[in-house]
Amino acid sequence: MRAAKHVAGLLGLMFTSEQALAAYQMNLPPGVTTFSQGAYDIHTMVMWICVVIGAVVFGAMIYSIINHRKSKGAVSAEFHDNTAIEIIWTVIPFLILIAMAIPATKVLLAMEDTSNSDMSIKVTGYQWKWHYDYLGEDISFFSNISTPDAANLSTNASVKKDDTYLLDVDNRLVIPEDTKVRLLFTSNDVIHAWWVQAFGVKKDAIPGFINESWVNVPDPGVYRGKCAELCGKNHGFMPIVVEVKTKEDYAAWVSGQKTAAAEAAASAEKTWTKADLMSHGQKVYTTACAACHQANGEGLPNVFPGLKGSAIATGDIAKHLSVVIHGVTGTAMAAYGPQMNDADLAAVITYERNAWGNDTGDVVQPSDIKAAR
């Protein structure tokens, strides 16, 4: 009886569309935009056509397997040709394909709506995070996975596995409801792909090129997505979270962002204590550096150099600053100068110079970073 309930439950899940993040989900969800709903509709239609064709073909096979067997005394017939039937079963599938192609074409063309958007956001894929730039607003920020420890074998166990595991970020992409938002995609390094299933939007982010799509989400909510193109080590650890706010809340968020930006600029002017730098630096390190250099600073031999006891982290400060700010061309070490503000850079370099027994006692202030850029 319990088994029957289970089966019924599974079948029910297969046909319902609501449970977005439910376990045992078997079907595509319809999502919240016209893209996702169009995709869902055509998916459903084609799937059912395939089920019906499959039932006919497999039905014939099963019938034949049961009845046309030698052990049942069946004697093989002589026919091995029938032009009429072959023509029929070429033409009928062709007609079925046309019946599929017409609605598919309609759905695709509907996605090409080119009415003007109210706002544009540039989405840049990085290894391994997203960057959002609200064009014309001077709001831009990185969006990192909120649990960077998940990406390493040695630290993954310490990460809590809850409903938003691998689906949460530190800074969400915030957009207003009921607004056509133009999204422009590019990449800083390799090809990534920005995918939010609830929106039905998946677009490759290609270095040097701009791709475009748009969303218009009718209702507020939180929608989660993932990178959908293999982009290196942490391809599975660069999620996307879009928070759709009411128009009023969005306006409040925008002004909040501008205030925060002003505060961050101010914090770059002041002098930090070593303790503050170390604690902030550890946070920055975990988010941005541990992916490759590991939480224990040991790196991956011959792939990513270790920082624990390394010449750069314990030697000349200017060299250390240069490596972090300007990167190392020809390697995977990106330039973090353009990606982080002075305070974050000062903190993370201070941390690297004093953690894991490096203990140089060096303290780097945001003003040092500004001078070194």
Binding site: Q25, M26, I42, V46, A104, F209, G232, N302
Partner: protein
């Protein structure tokens, strides 16, 4: 003339033996055997990598491997299965069977045949060496997926990438030479009376596959050469900085890549077309349409490549064209499935192991075909692309499709190769465990793909856990069942119930007129075909 005969007489007295027999073989049977053993060994190597992948994916969280190593596993698993298992497996079957099926004494170019084979252990030795070096901490093996998109594989690829490129070149040369050999053999060495339209379907499918190979393997060679040049000689084919285009990589790669997947399936169609009539005791239904359908599939395979690229930002006209063209392939493929079913219909079937695998192929390949049809609908593909839905699709057509057909072929023909019948009970056990395990492994992938799980990730969110656990259980059943197959093959080589010449009651064709085991040199006098 007599001098030549005497020389050859001497040759006959010289039984090939020892390691030289294999290193220097010019015999299509021995070379076929080597290809098949190579494929079988690679199957276990690639399969072990799959088990590492599935073991890591058994539960959410990282338990076994670093993400960097996981990417190496998925990459090498794909490369080995595509280039080291399926392709050499079918070449091995071609080598063994095509000459016998057309009444020829050997392949047209026996020495080149030998070189075609021996390139492969070299090529794969390099790939596996890069993995061993990675395990020893000396830098990553290829980690960019078997599709090695630029710039991940060019600007950002590890040092082993250049060896990967060399490896691909060697595999490509091997395939091209093999294909030339097959075409020359089929065109020139058919027994008198064997017109093209009397050839067995397996020969036809390999004939067409060989043309696909010589058309597209050179394009693969071109794209990896461009990669090599971008990486080492300062060019910018795929580097936007220098005016190149990463998307162009995808175009050139998939121009090869799509025909490649048909290269991997057409011989499978041929195998099934030999087996089903034999065990249904009825001629294949619609012989000529089978031939034309195969040729249409081959032709259409050249014009559909960008259905792998719907999310790259293609204009609508391009998406529509590739969608329509891909949908068209369903028609000749459907015709073939209908013809197989019609062969079964009102036949007098028995269900020995080869027939079980062949029927399994028809069921499961067709499921893969249905998901393929769903994927070619561009707006729906935006939700499927790069998810486990795609992974499910291609494993259905390649694992429970092409690999099933190779297993079917081995059971079908091993009595001819060895003179011994395989153990039927073990064969059936192998079939059922593989079929059930395979479905437990791959069917849930449809669900997690539709639910939103991307591919090529070592860890996933909690809502995908249940089906992933199921898939892992299926993987271990599927994987370990292959040991039964290995045992059965070795057992059969060493002995067993003696096989007759015809072996199977419904068997028909020149190969079944030879003794079992087939002599080292067969059809030295060509038979006449009526």
């Amino acid at each position: 003339m007599s001098a030549v005969i005497e020389e050859h007489h001497d040759h006959h007295d010289h039984k090939p033996s020892g390691i030289g027999r294999w290193l220097f073989s010019t015999n299509h049977k021995d070379i076929g055997t080597m290809y098949l053993w190579f494929s079988f060994i690679m199957f276990f190597v690639g399969g072990a990598m799959a088990l590492v992948i599935r073991a890591e994916l058994f539960q959410p969280g990282l338990q076994l491997v670093e993400p960097e190593f996981f990417n190496q596993m998925t990459t090498l698993h794909g490369l080995i299965m595509v280039f080291g298992v399926i392709m050499p497996g079918f070449v091995g079957l071609a080598n063994w069977m095509v000459p016998m099926m057309i009444g020829a004494p050997d392949m047209a170019l026996p020495r080149m045949n030998n070189w075609s084979f021996w390139l492969l252990p070299g090529a794969f030795g390099m790939l596996i060496a890069s993995l061993i070096m990675s395990l020893m901490g000396m830098g990553s093996a290829p980690n960019f997926g078997w599709t090695f998109y630029a710039p991940l594989s060019t600007t950002y690829g590890p040092a082993s990438t250049d060896y990967f490129i060399f490896s691909v070149h060697l595999m490509g040369i091997s395939s091209i030479m093999g294909a030339i050999n097959i075409i020359a053999t089929i065109m020139n060495m058919r027994a008198p009376g064997m017109t093209y339209m009397k050839m067995p379907i397996f020969v036809w499918t390999w004939f067409i596959t060989a043309y696909l190979l010589i058309a597209v393997m050179p394009v693969l060679a071109g794209v990896v050469t461009m990669m090599l040049m971008d990486r080492n000689f300062g060019t910018s084919f795929f580097n936007a900085a220098g005016g190149g285009d990463p998307v162009m990589f995808q175009h050139v790669f998939w121009f090869f890549g799509h025909p490649e997947v048909y290269i991997m399936i057409l011989p499978a169609f041929g195998v099934v077309s030999q087996i089903v009539p034999t065990f249904a005791r009825k001629k294949i239904f619609g012989y000529s349409s089978m031939v034309y359908a195969t040729a249409s599939i081959a032709f259409l395979s050249f014009i559909v490549w960008a259905h792998h690229m719907f999310t790259t930002g293609m204009p609508v006209a391009g998406e529509l064209f590739f969608m329509y063209a891909t949908m068209l392939i369903a028609i000749p493929t459907g015709v073939k499935v209908f013809n197989w079913v019609s062969t079964m219909w009102r036949g007098s079937m028995t269900f020995e192991t080869p027939m079980l695998f062949a029927i399994g192929f028809i069921f499961l390949f067709t499921i893969g075909g249905f998901t393929g049809l769903m994927m070619c609908i561009a707006p729906a593909d935006f939700q499927y692309h790069d998810t486990y839905f795609i992974v499910a699709h291609f494993h259905y057509v390649l694992a429970t499709g092409a690999a099933f057909s190779i297993m079917a072929a081995v059971y079908f023909w091993i009595p001819k190769w060895t003179g011994n019948m395989y153990d039927e009970k073990l064969g059936k056990l192998h079939f059922w465990l593989t079929a059930i395990g395979g479905n437990i492994l791959f069917f849930p992938m449809h669900f997690v793909g539709l639910a939103g799980m991307p591919r090529r990730i070592p860890d996933y969110s909690l809502q995908f856990a249940e089906f992933n656990a199921m898939a892992t259980v299926g993987a271990f059943i599927f994987g370990f069942s292959q040991l039964i197959f290995l045992y059965n093959v070795i057992k059969t080589i060493r002995g067993g119930e003696k096989a007759t010449d015809q072996v199977w009651e419904g068997a028909d064709g020149l190969e079944w007129t030879l003794p079992s085991p087939a002599p080292f040199h067969s059809f030295t006098t060509p038979p006449t075909v009526k």
